[in-house]
Amino acid sequence: MTVLADPALAADARRERRFFLSLSLPALFIVGLAAILPIVWIIRQSFLTTGGEYTVGNYEKVLSSGLTWSALVTTLELSLGTLAICILLGIPLALALASARPRVANLLMALVMLPLWTSILVRTYGWLVLLRRDGLINAALTGSGLATEPLPLAYNFTGTLIGMVHYMLPLFLLPVYAAMRDIDANLIRASASMGATIGQAIRTVILPLSAGGIFSGSIIVFIYTIGFFITPAVLGGGKVNPLSIRIERTLSTFQDWGSASVLGILLLILMALMGVMFLAARRLIAGRKVGTAHA
């Protein structure tokens, strides 16, 4: 802003900046009220006994419990498993969408988005109808002789993962598709003209240029799935217990606000750690000189 040498102009510019900053106040107020305040409250709660005295006992209890650590592992398994499957399914789907003609792409996109307009509870129970021992899928498999025994698809880790992938795939797809659609078609033509096969063009041009979208999608998947409750509760059948379910059980069964708060803080720390890791990985990849055409 060295152009604004005139103090009056500089003052004008400052006033303008202050005005635009002030536009964020209502949103900041709500975020502060709905997010920061409860977090502060939870932190306070985690240091209190049921009687209201200060203690670190909640931490000792929760961190020494094997259930906590197995819940942590289950949470990570669900999140990373969902993410891995979303990447495997979502990237080819995004490639197909981005290369389809606009009318076809819009139709496919509407189909992909359809699940988002249905309540998660309805969808989860819908999966139950399909995946149960006597559900549609097992009936078809045993009926056609493809399987002699019904496959264990519901009330376990597999069923939970299926339900979570179904929920997350559209949310993963959106940023990836947007990034791929924004790639100049001439770049892909240029790579073809220089001899690239479709596979080489995807690897050397499309994927590097949509890395930002893939990262955004991954962060969305991770943030959502780390606190997922309904799907493991319904499709897990009591055998899949991530942190979210431990928190609920601690509260509803034991009314132990202190321990539940500690578990909540654990979830927050996990989220922050993963967030930092994602951002670091992203910076690493973006910052690397892509001087390597030899991919």
Binding site: T197, V290, A293
Partner: protein, 346 residues
């Protein structure tokens, strides 16, 4: 020197619904020739170029590279270098990686690829910029990277789609010269698309003028300019006066042509002595005059009512300042500069 190949375009047709983009286009391009496809937007020149590149599949007709039929060949197997209008450089690679890219695809050993990329960058005068990011380059530098990338793998044919349209005028003229020099060094068959007639005249061995999906005329720049075969070509190539034979008289009194005549504005003289006996004269009234620095531009209303433009170089226009609007005068043109357009009415 690369071994370049001739190209044969044989009755290629391409339609989009009811719109005819290419209407049975046939064209032979010689090995090592610099040929320009010139035409207004929508004339089909870019569609033809994209058909050669393999990104547009013709409805019918054949494309030959040498004696090999490439009509149905995938773009990545054609071995054709392309410079795109917006350069299409890879933004996630630096200059060197962009130029090494086609060599990497061909599994050229790394050290050799690097050396060839650096040599090609030197050829387009980009030494020392190999580690730059694409975003940090000027328009002219990007143009040079695009050129280097298109020639580094020694393709037998090069296609260029309005490569200079994004550059300012001075840079464009420098690049015209450099592209032509590069072509002469490499001897590579080049098809160049532009809508700028001056660029086409300056750079090409031959120019193919296109309109509405057809080739109107294909000829050397001089022939295209002086002897256009259609009214469209005459008018597209510069300030052309197309006059009815009745408005023109031969200075020596002989019968004039029966067809419409094209006389370029700059072919006229105001002094009959500068034009031979077999030249022509046009009588009219001066209705406007303008001094344009290097020349005077006069507008004459002929006796039939048609207005023509007369352009007199400043060095020969000593009397022009004294001319008054409304005065009767005569413009003369030498016979060699009067061109009858076959079948055209004025």
């Amino acid at each position: 020197m690369m071994k370049s190949l001739p190209i044969t375009i044989d009755s290629v047709r391409k339609t989009y619904g009811s719109y005819v983009a290419l209407d049975d286009v046939s064209l032979d391009i010689r090995a090592g020739e610099f040929l320009t496809l010139l035409g207004p937007s929508g004339s089909g020149k870019t569609t033809l170029l994209m058909a050669l590149a393999g990104f547009v599949r013709p409805d019918s007709g054949k494309l030959l590279l040498g004696d090999r039929d490439i009509t149905r060949l995938a773009p990545n197997k054609r071995d054709i270098g392309i410079v795109f209008q917006n350069y299409a450089l890879f933004p996630h690679m630096n200059v060197l990686a962009n130029v090494e890219y086609p060599l990497a695809l061909r599994k050229t050993p790394k050290a050799e690829a690097r050396q060839r990329a650096l040599d090609t960058l030197a050829r387009v005068k980009l030494e020392g910029l190999s580690e730059r990011n694409i975003a940090a380059l000027s328009g002219g530098q990007r143009q040079r990277v695009a050129l280097a990338r298109a020639i580094v793998f020694e393709p037998r044919v090069m296609l260029m789609d309005e490569p200079l349209s994004a550059l300012d005028k001075n840079l464009r003229e420098t690049m015209q010269y450099e592209i032509r020099r590069l072509h002469d060094d490499l001897g590579i068959t080049t098809i160049y698309v532009t809508h700028d007639q001056r660029e086409a005249l300056t750079m090409s061995d031959r120019v193919a003028v296109m309109n509405s999906g057809r080739i109107q005329q294909i000829d050397t720049p001089q022939q295209i300019y002086d002897r256009p075969s259609t009214r469209f070509v005459a008018e597209f190539m510069g300030e052309a006066n197309i006059v009815a034979p009745g408005s023109v008289r031969r200075i020596d009194g002989a019968d004039a042509s029966r067809e419409a005549l094209m006389i370029r504005a700059e072919s006229f003289h105001l002094d009959a002595k500068l034009v031979g006996r077999d030249g022509v004269a046009l009588d009219g009234t001066l209705c406007a005059k303008a001094f344009r620095g290097e020349n005077w531009l006069l507008t004459l209303a002929l006796d039939g009512g048609q207005e023509i433009l007369v352009c007199i170089p400043a060095a020969l226009a000593s009397g022009c300042a004294e001319l008054t609007i409304g005065q009767q005068m005569t413009a003369y043109a030498p016979a060699a500069k009067v061109h009858a357009i076959p079948g055209a009415k004025a």
